[in-house]
């Protein structure tokens, strides 16, 4: 099958060349069938490119913080996320975005809030060209605190999305 396609291709190329040259058309047409009948067509297989995919590493932060009851990406998260998006576009790694909330408010609402935050990060990455199906979003709500304590600082550090 492959050979046949290549044969037709050669013929087409010859026809095209014939069209472009000043040689009378009749001659070429006469020669072509005989040549094709006798010629063994060699097909050239393209080698797989030997370019090595080196996963680009980044030391950009992998934790992104949010305001209370909010899922808006902060301006300060942008640069790091752009860097991650670039790295992710250069490899085929699957990522997991874990959304979290601080301990205030109710647990199931915080589950929803954690998911909303992780989804906000996902949407940003997708907008930068990362395939959506490579990103898994999971919320832990307030069930997995990064920092224990009931003060503003602990709460700030717990309202987060972790890229893994």
């Amino acid at each position: 099958m492959k050979t046949r396609i290549n044969t037709y291709a050669t013929l087409l190329i010859l026809l095209a060349m014939a069209g472009c040259s000043s040689t009378p058309v009749e001659e070429v047409v006469e020669q072509a069938p005989t040549e094709i009948e006798n010629t063994e067509v060699t097909t050239v297989q393209l080698e797989a490119p030997e370019v090595e995919e080196v996963a680009v590493e980044t030391d950009a932060p992998t934790v992104f913080y949010f305001d209370f009851d909010k899922a808006l990406l902060k301006a300060e998260s942008r640069d790091a996320l752009l860097e991650h998006a670039e790295v992710l576009s250069s490899n085929s790694r699957a990522v997991r975005l874990e959304g979290h909330a601080d301990e205030r408010g109710t647990r199931e609402y915080n589950m929803a809030l954690g998911e909303r935050r992780a989804t906000a990060v996902k949407e940003f990455l997708v907008m930068q060209g990362v395939a959506a199906d490579r990103i898994e979003v999971i919320s832990y709500g307030e069930e997995r605190a990064a920092v224990y304590g009931s003060d503003d600082e602990a709460w700030r550090l717990n309202r987060r999305v972790e890229l893994k």
């Binding site: 009851d69 205030r104 408010g105 199931e108 609402y109 589950m111 998911e115 224990y148």
Partner: protein, 430 residues
């Protein structure tokens, strides 16, 4: 006589110390202003040796309700076991309004029988005489049923001492946490471990017959809803969708489970037919819709939504899908839990940056804050509507606490170790 009494008090003290409140310990912090004074004369044992002091369990039950003050045993002049042995005058002098007397015996089949009477000291008459029987290993159940009977006779409200409590415990062990789901008696005693996991466990919910729990477990690496039979410990995974699988709530007839799934993009309320597993989507909004709870009619669901900009409570008709907002005071009202009267709605309310438990009267629209602490959540009303259990923080630790529906009575159930949270008060079990 004096020596005999001292010896007896010593023995009573000993049995108090032996009482096994393994994980949760009760501390009553606030009681009713004018509690009814009840004296429980230690029950006559007729030579039986019991592992628990039944009278002491009844005293603790009544005391915990906040409506009663218990006459200390050391003040009693005598320990009558039968109404005919009661000298009313003695008890009147002690200020007791009611007296409970009783006598135990072993039945031919090995079960225990307690015949007890409630006497009104004022009117000098027997309110009732009643017999309860239980196997020897169910002394605490027997005691709680005595408390239920006394409570009902004096207050007119069905007692909820024989009910149970499901809750989640989290204990840090090194860098990891261990999550456990427990079921204990309503007084925190006799806790039984239902599930242990290195991944979070959340949102326990009782089936209306009190035989099963539904909950969220992350044991697969993702949240999923499970149901578990409490007697057989048999479990079944009910959901495994992408995204949230949460907030299960059993319908009053036990045939359906309301739950939250975000498989279609964002959190929505669904109803699952437990016989077929078929799902019906009940909400359709880009906001967060969560924490569904059924109304007693089985036709309405209350839930939390931030569709108005802040989390508020809404009422959904599953018949015509109409939705009505119920809360308007403040910028955070969530996790509705309806009292059995169908009118008092317990919820989490934010005021001045503090998260309290509050009760909203659905008729008058009056909102009453029931707690003053700052990180209160997960209200769960007792099946008799008298009190509710909730989770709060004491120092750095998560503890359970209870408050009466009129805010007058409070007690705490801190765990011996770790954090405890998400109390779910069982329905009446018999």
């Amino acid at each position: 006589m004096n020596l005999y009494r001292q010896l007896l008090i010593f023995l009573v003290g000993l049995s108090f110390a032996n009482t096994v409140f393994a994980e949760l310990v009760i501390r009553v912090t606030e009681g009713n202003d004018q509690p009814t004074i009840v004296a429980i004369s230690p029950f006559e044992l007729n030579g039986m040796r019991l592992s628990e002091d039944i009278g002491a369990i009844v005293e603790a039950d009544l005391h915990r309700s906040g409506l009663f003050q218990v006459t200390p045993r050391q003040d009693m002049l005598a320990f009558p076991a039968k109404p005919k042995d009661v000298y009313f005058r003695d008890w009147r002098l002690l200020g007791a309004e009611y007296l409970v007397v009783g006598s135990m015996q072993t039945m031919p089949d090995g079960r225990y029988e307690l015949e007890f009477s409630l006497l009104s000291i004022m009117s000098q008459r027997i309110q009732f005489t009643h017999k309860v029987r239980a196997p020897a290993d169910q002394i605490r159940d027997l005691a709680h049923s005595v408390s239920d009977k006394i409570y009902k006779s004096i207050t007119g409200i069905r007692g909820a001492f024989s009910t149970r409590l499901a809750y989640v415990s989290a204990i840090r062990e090194g860098d990891a946490q261990v999550y456990r789901l427990y079921v204990a008696d309503a007084d925190g005693a006799r806790e039984r471990l239902m599930l242990e996991s290195s991944q979070p466990i959340m949102s326990p919910a009782w089936s209306p017959d009190g035989k099963e729990l539904a909950y969220v477990s992350f044991e697969t690496g993702r949240p999923a809803i499970w149901r578990q039979n409490l007697t057989t410990a048999k479990r079944q995974q009910l959901t495994n969708f992408k995204g949230l699988n949460g907030a299960p709530s059993w319908s009053p007839d036990g045939t359906k489970l309301a739950l939250v799934l975000s498989k279609d993009g964002n959190p929505e309320i669904y109803s699952m037919d437990l016989a077929t597993g078929a799902l019906t989507r009940l909400t359709r909004h880009f906001a967060i819709d969560t924490e569904p709870t059924w109304m007693p009619d089985g036709k309405h669901i209350l839930f939390t939504s931030d569709r108005g900009g802040t989390p508020q409570i809404y009422k959904l008709s599953i018949v015509d899908k109409s939705i009505q907002r119920l809360t308007f005071q403040g910028n955070y009202n969530a996790r509705p839990n309806l009292a059995p009267d169908g009118r008092t709605l317990a919820l989490v309310h934010r005021a001045e940056n503090k998260f309290h438990i509050a009760a909203l009267d659905l008729k008058t629209r009056r909102l009453l804050a029931l707690t003053e602490t700052t990180l209160d959540e997960s209200p769960s009303v007792a099946p008799n509507g008298a009190m509710l259990m909730y989770a709060t923080k004491s120092g750095a630790r998560g503890i359970l606490a209870a408050v009466s529906i009129d805010a007058g009575v409070k007690y705490m159930l801190p765990a011996k170790r770790g954090d405890v949270r998400e109390p779910a008060w069982s329905p009446f079990l018999r």
